[in-house]
Amino acid sequence: MPDELIVNGASHPLPQDPRVTLLDFLRHDLGLTGTKKGCDHGQCGACTVIVNGLRINSCLTLAAMHAGHEVTTIEGLGIADEPSALQRAFVEHDGFQCGYCTPGQICSATAMLAEIANQWPSDASESLEGPIEVSGDEIRERMSGNLCRCGAYANIVAAIRDVAALEGIA
């Protein structure tokens, strides 16, 4: 539908007010508060969601720009009874403390692993072409848009490496 967007598989009408960001639409209009507002200016990554398979900062885009798009939020990746591999690995490795940046980290990491699997190079890659090794630096470079003030980075990287190995992205 041209005037609807699809969030975690369900269609929702676009907001009336064109000023509503995708982030505020998710948090306020849909009550999907798993997506966090940390800065509202695309500086922290806490609001990262996956739109049509790619990760974006949902605070930097208006809901009205996403008619017909498929949005996946943290709530769409897994639930407590059935968490995704990354969600489970974050708990196991203590990849968070306060938990506020966590949904953004996990959404970002989910899409990031797909980027590596698709052989998209990054600044940390050995070359622009050829296979990409899932090294610590490769993960750190690609995850640097997701800030964690508690300082859980070392554990986040460990959690992501675990899942990458598990899913054979290495």
Binding site: I74, A80, Q97, C98, G99, N146, Y153
Partner: protein
């Protein structure tokens, strides 16, 4: 039934070690972990409240002066706008930690750029934000306002000043000495969750969901600000998206949302923008610090001088306690420690993670590195030679002291070779590689706390307290303490935190939460154990509880006879606080690379070894240390609040310009948890841990920069321009 325990003597019985459930100290995953990773843990602004209006704060665009007029009509005519609140009870600063009274009010008097002056309330956030931007405000600014510490006369803080012997003479007599001055820039807590509140007024009682660290103080501060009795207020902070000091005291949006809810008779949510958090919440003061160290030919300190200049707003009692650990970390019979405070019109200076040591230790430990070099002694060895056997100023015994163990175990784990050290010994391409180390120290605090434990008839337990979990792991360690004492797995213990309806404690701050509230939980559980032992006709010391049954095989559910058993524990530190000097200690080791051409520094690896009493949970404790080390990297290399010297406004008021460490700045980190039980620290032999990990860490990086490339930098953060300027040809 409430059980009161005042701790006058060290708890040398280590009772937790005698229990049989075997969960205390174990690396248990966070019990609230799945809620956080699935996005279902609700933070302050995320409660669905019917008919909630949205408030946006309006902040001052002058440094000092008064608000002459607020033209409410300029906003009220806009779509959806409900009210412009400029009540004189609005608070203009956050309360200091443990203030227990309202901070500065009367918003028409402006004391710093970015101070909240009014609140615009509308039906939607977008309407409120727009109207707040359009609100017409007239100011009467004042001229000649002091905005930098050097511009005013500083007051000496008498309670921090120590002068013993003759430091000048010790310096001139010394075999080796150092006299140098360091500066550190201001820091922001920058917790990921911006300050937020939803206030609801039902005509009798005000309920506020807020993001706060210390509810028992915050409820008094809010009550005082609103002039509404505490009995009519309930504060709830079940999940707090980071605090680091910035949520110690009641903050401006909590009072604004409350006043709006009271006035409008409908719920109101106020979330501060990231910029408002930077401008209107706490900063850590910048510092200027002079270090004077004198030692004999064996490297033993004979003189110790540490003077610091810090700043705060007029009227604020807080002065960054830079010298806190300098008073006892190293000996030296000739001492001069002086802290000075100047008054400037920048936002409130207050507690940011590890107030004092966070900036004091990096200066001291960088100076110690210079002394080690001049004395020709390995830096680890220099510290080992300077561990006092008692507090060098007051003569108090240490409650427990693990600095030597931390230095040795850390050095071994890191691979510190202890050989001759000279800069520029290793180069890889454009990069100089070097290593450095530093000691860590952070005073231990413990406070009065209450907690209620219910052993339920169904054989599970419930723990209730107003203590908060700000990412520290409170939920899990409380479940582990109760589980260990009562013979239950942590997941059989429901922990209900962050609600002023519960028994109160000191909250999260100054690293005192776990040992204080943990001791109250211990007291309540001990009372339950005594009651259970009585039912079995045995002495409590003979009671074995594990896997939900007693040692003789009786199930807890049988012992409870269909009834819940409830005990409230009330813990109060007694003379242990006066009889001992208690502190966490540690050692940092780092390897860095410094680019010869750009001066850029990258941390290759870093390790911290820490002794902070009993480890309650090896996983969450390690994470606290990782967090501290990460902050050390930020302080050493990137973090700096930059103020406009003309009007004192904060120039880098967001996360794009204030550079907290990101993933790529932080390598794999190692943590060594040094075995310790500190019987005089708390009933559970635990000390604070949330701050120790950044108390000195920046110096390990600074010292590694010197070892790598020969650049001695005296200003933190050590940005490429500064390193390049100090780099020898």
């Amino acid at each position: 039934m409430t059980v009161h325990v005042k701790q006058d003597k060290p708890a040398t019985d280590n009772r937790l070690d005698t229990m049989r459930q075997n969960v205390i100290g174990k690396p248990v995953s966070r019990i609230e972990g799945l809620a956080k990773v699935t996005g279902t843990a609700p933070y302050a602004a995320e409660y669905p409240v019917e008919g909630c209006a949205e408030g946006v704060l309006v902040t001052a665009t002058i440094t000092r002066g008064s608000v002459v007029r607020i033209d409410a009509q300029s906003a009220l005519g806009m779509p959806g706008v409900i009210a412009v609140i400029d009540d004189e009870r609005l608070t203009t600063r956050p309360a200091q930690g443990t203030a227990n009274e309202a901070p500065q009010q009367k918003p028409r008097t402006v004391c710093y750029w970015g101070q909240p002056i009014a609140l615009v309330v509308a039906e939607t956030f977008e309407q409120a934000r727009d109207a707040a931007q359009q609100l017409v405000v007239e100011y009467q600014p004042e001229d000649d306002v002091a905005v930098s510490a050097e511009a005013t006369d500083a007051e000496e803080q008498d309670d921090e000043t120590v002068r013993m012997g003759n430091l000048d003479k010790a310096m001139s007599d010394a075999a080796h000495s150092v006299d140098c001055t360091y500066t550190t820039k201001g820091h922001a807590s920058a917790a990921m969750e911006p300050h937020a509140a939803i206030a609801q007024w039902d005509g009798e009682r005000l309920t506020v969901h807020a993001s706060l660290q210390m509810l028992n103080y915050n409820i008094t501060e809010l009550s005082d600000a609103l002039d509404l009795p505490e009995s009519r207020i309930r504060l709830i902070s079940r999940y707090v998206g980071g605090g680091f000091g910035s949520k110690l005291g009641v903050s401006e949006e909590v009072v604004a949302a409350s006043l709006a809810a009271l006035q409008l008779d409908r719920p109101v949510r106020v979330v501060m923008s990231r910029q408002q958090v930077f401008e209107g919440i706490m900063r850590r003061s910048e510092t200027t610090q002079r270090l004077r160290l004198a030692c004999d030919s064996d490297g033993r300190l004979t003189g110790f001088g540490h003077e610091a200049l810090v700043s705060n707003l007029p009227g604020e009692g807080f002065a960054e306690p830079v010298l806190q650990s300098s008073h006892f970390l190293y000996p030296g019979e000739n001492r001069e420690l002086v802290l000075k405070l100047s008054r400037v019109h920048r936002m409130t200076a207050g507690s940011v993670r590890a107030p004092g040591e966070a900036v004091g230790m990096p200066a001291l430990e960088a100076a110690m590195d210079i002394l080690a070099e001049r004395a020709g002694i390995d830096p680890v060895e220099l510290r080992l030679r300077n561990i006092p056997d008692k507090d060098p100023e007051q003569g108090l015994p240490f409650s427990s002291h693990k600095l030597a163990e931390c230095l040795r175990q850390g050095a071994e784990a890191f691979g510190w070779d202890g050989g001759a050290r000279k800069p520029r010994m290793r180069r890889e391409g454009e990069w100089w590689i070097g290593t450095g180390m530093a000691s860590a120290a952070r005073v231990h605090n413990v406070g009065e706390a209450r907690a209620r434990v219910t052993l339920k008839a169904d054989g599970t337990a419930l723990v209730e307290t107003d203590m908060t979990d700000i990412g520290t792991g409170t939920y899990t360690i409380v479940a582990q303490i109760a589980g260990e004492m009562l013979g239950l797995r942590p997941e059989q213990v429901l922990v209900d935190l962050g609600d002023t309806n519960h028994p109160r404690g000191p909250g999260s701050g100054g690293s005192w939460g776990a040992s204080s509230t943990g001791s109250a939980v211990y007291v309540a559980c001990m009372a339950i154990r005594e009651a259970l032992a009585e039912r079995l006709g045995i002495d409590e010391t003979g009671l074995v509880l594990a896997d939900a049954k007693a040692g003789n095989g009786t199930l807890l559910t049988e012992l409870l006879r269909g009834q819940d058993m409830v005990r409230e524990g009330h813990y109060k530190p007694g003379s242990i606080s006066d009889d001992y000097l208690a502190s966490g200690f540690g050692a940092f080791f780092s390897e860095v690379r410094v680019n010869h051409f750009t001066g850029e520094t990258r941390v290759n690896r870093m390790l911290g070894a820490f002794g902070f009493g009993r480890v309650l949970n090896a996983k969450t404790a390690r994470s606290q240390c990782l967090g501290g080390i990460t902050w050390s990297i930020g302080m050493a290399l990137t973090e700096a609040l930059e103020f406009d010297p003309r009007d004192g406004h904060l120039v880098n008021r967001d996360l794009a310009e204030y550079h907290v460490p990101v993933h790529r700045d932080v390598p794999d980190l190692d943590v060594v948890l040094v075995e310790e039980r500190d019987a005089a620290a708390s009933l559970i032999q635990a000390k604070g841990i949330g701050e120790l990990g950044m108390c000195g860490g920046a110096a390990a990086i600074a010292n590694a920069i010197y070892n790598a490339c020969g650049a001695r930098v005296f200003d933190y953060p050590m940005t490429p321009d500064r390193v390049l300027a100090a780099m020898p040809e």
